[in-house]
Amino acid sequence: MRKRGPIPIHILVFLGPAVLIYTAFMIYPLCDSLWLSLNNKGINGGQIFVGIQNYLTLFSQEQWSRPFWNALRNNVLFFVIHMAAQNPVGLLLAALLARRIRGSSIYRTIIFTPTILSVVIVGFIWKLILNPAWGISRTLMTIVGLGNLDAPWLGLESTALVTLSLISVWQNVGIPMMLFLAALIRIPDDLVEAARVDGASGWKIFWRIQFPLILPTVGLVAVLTFVGNFNAFELIYATQGALAGPNFASDILGTFFFRTFFGYQLQPADPFMGSTVAGVMLIIILIGVLIYSFGWQRRQQQIQF
């Protein structure tokens, strides 16, 4: 039975502060930003409603569309590299840690360390290590016999984005590792033991028993990676600057958004187009989240029953 009538005052007191702060500093600005994306400067300097004109400008007018599609393309590649490198490595590490060998909590603590550092600091550390002036990467590459492959990776258009993606993978691999590990530990020991008694190999046990049981976590990791990647900014800004060099080769939506609404060097700040870029980012992230919650999660529930 639902209670009717006004909500008791103490419930309002409990909910009030959280709802107020959250609404004022998160939901209202988001809505304000979406509203701004449907407006532009009028002739007399005021603000006029222009509908989806800003979005059309962003998608098709050369001056806007070239950097926009470039940033979106780069961002997709950024995400693909995370999915191909970060999450499988995280899964492998989690599977090894789940074997409960001696010292596994020490390994876990060490491997998670980069994840707790600021992206700015991580970016700078790698910038130093990859800087040919210091020569750390050249020496290390020579030791493993790949010395002739060494190059100023962050400075070349062809390699900057991939290098930055891998730095980000290096930093964030701890998150999927922790999530996969938590899921693997929840699997009852009996299941794995029974298979082992039946003579199944570790490889087979992993793919036939453990992996199917942690599929919900695979989906969660994918959506968290998606949201994190399409919202990324700091790593590129800290290592390559707001212009995401060389020649915009490492520009992603976050840096493009920053330059657009904040202005940079010769480019004046434009809150209307900035909001429009944020609007597109919001749509992209919502699509990802919706696919996850209605496609993946629902199918998982059906499998479980």
């Binding site: 008791p8 007191v13 409990f14 004022a24 707790i116 600021s118 992230i285």
Partner: protein, 275 residues
């Protein structure tokens, strides 16, 4: 038995190798921050020796930037945001877990939007709002934004835990004539592990953030440690001693917090993930 042995050995080998990959860049930075310029370039992999040891970088740091001030700002912003997050979120979570009322589900859903939608996407609106409220270049602006950012996940985790508190306990208190506010205070210590987890997972994103300090509080008086470090690193990019010293100092606080809160952090990541 033989194959079991080799599988343990190879597990150790892979984990050890990856641990080196994870830690080596950080150690290299710390080690070299204590060496003179010649040794940094001449033998970057060596530990500092009495001959090469120097604190030059740290001296440059002390004389050319207000890192004590930046550190204090970061501390005030992070601590205040965390206190606010814990208070307002636990109150909201208590209401959502304890009472049946109209809009209960709707309120829970409304508050959970922020779990997946990054607050950054509203930056243009946030900037306009902080300008209107005269909160630009104030720590209060940052504190309120980080509180708003932290509320969704905190409410979600705390609601789950508050639902598990036995009903008998609350009913007994009610029979004794305790007010609803009193009961909330009674429940709070019982969900301490959940509060710890919320604290641990909310802490580092606030401490480590660059975006909002850069946009809303770039003034010298309100710079946070990360923004201060970022500006300093950009200016002193060719002074390796100073850069390495700044990086080392910036590494320490999160590592310190991590050592204290590792257990809560791991539990928090898992609690937030089990949806």
């Amino acid at each position: 038995m033989q194959s079991r042995f080799w599988s343990t050995v190879s597990t150790h080998a892979v984990l050890l190798a990856y641990s080196v990959i994870a830690l080596y860049p950080v150690l290299l930075t710390i080690i070299n921050s204590f060496k003179d310029r010649l040794a940094i370039f001449g033998s970057p992999f060596a530990f500092p020796s009495p001959d090469t040891f120097t604190l030059d970088g740290y001296q440059t740091l002390g004389s050319s930037a207000h890192f004590e001030l930046y550190f204090l700002n970061s501390f005030v912003v992070t601590a205040s945001s965390l206190v606010l997050i814990l208070i307002v979120s636990s109150m909201a979570a208590f209401a959502l877990a304890e009472y049946k009322f109209r809009f209960n589900l709707l309120t829970a859903l409304y508050l959970s939007i922020g779990i997946m939608v990054p607050i950054r996407l509203g930056t243009v609106g946030i900037l306009r709002l902080t300008v209107d409220l005269h909160l630009v270049n104030t720590l209060w602006g940052l504190i309120l934004i980080y509180t708003a950012q932290g509320i969704p996940l905190a409410v979600f985790i705390l609601t789950t835990f508050m639902r598990q508190v036995p009903k008998d306990l609350k009913d007994a208190a009610r029979i004794d004539g305790a007010s609803e506010y009193r009961i909330y205070l009674l429940i709070l210590p019982l969900v301490r592990p959940a509060l710890g987890s919320v604290l641990a997972i909310s802490m580092l994103p606030i401490w480590n953030d660059l975006w909002f300090p850069l946009i809303l509080a770039p003034g010298e008086a309100t710079k946070t440690l990360i923004l201060g470090a970022q500006t300093f690193l950009g200016e002193f990019v060719n002074d390796y001693n100073a850069v390495l010293a700044a990086l080392t100092l910036a590494i320490l606080p999160p590592v310190f917090l991590y050592m204290i809160f590792a257990r809560q952090l791991i539990r928090g990541i898992t609690a937030g993930a089990v949806k």
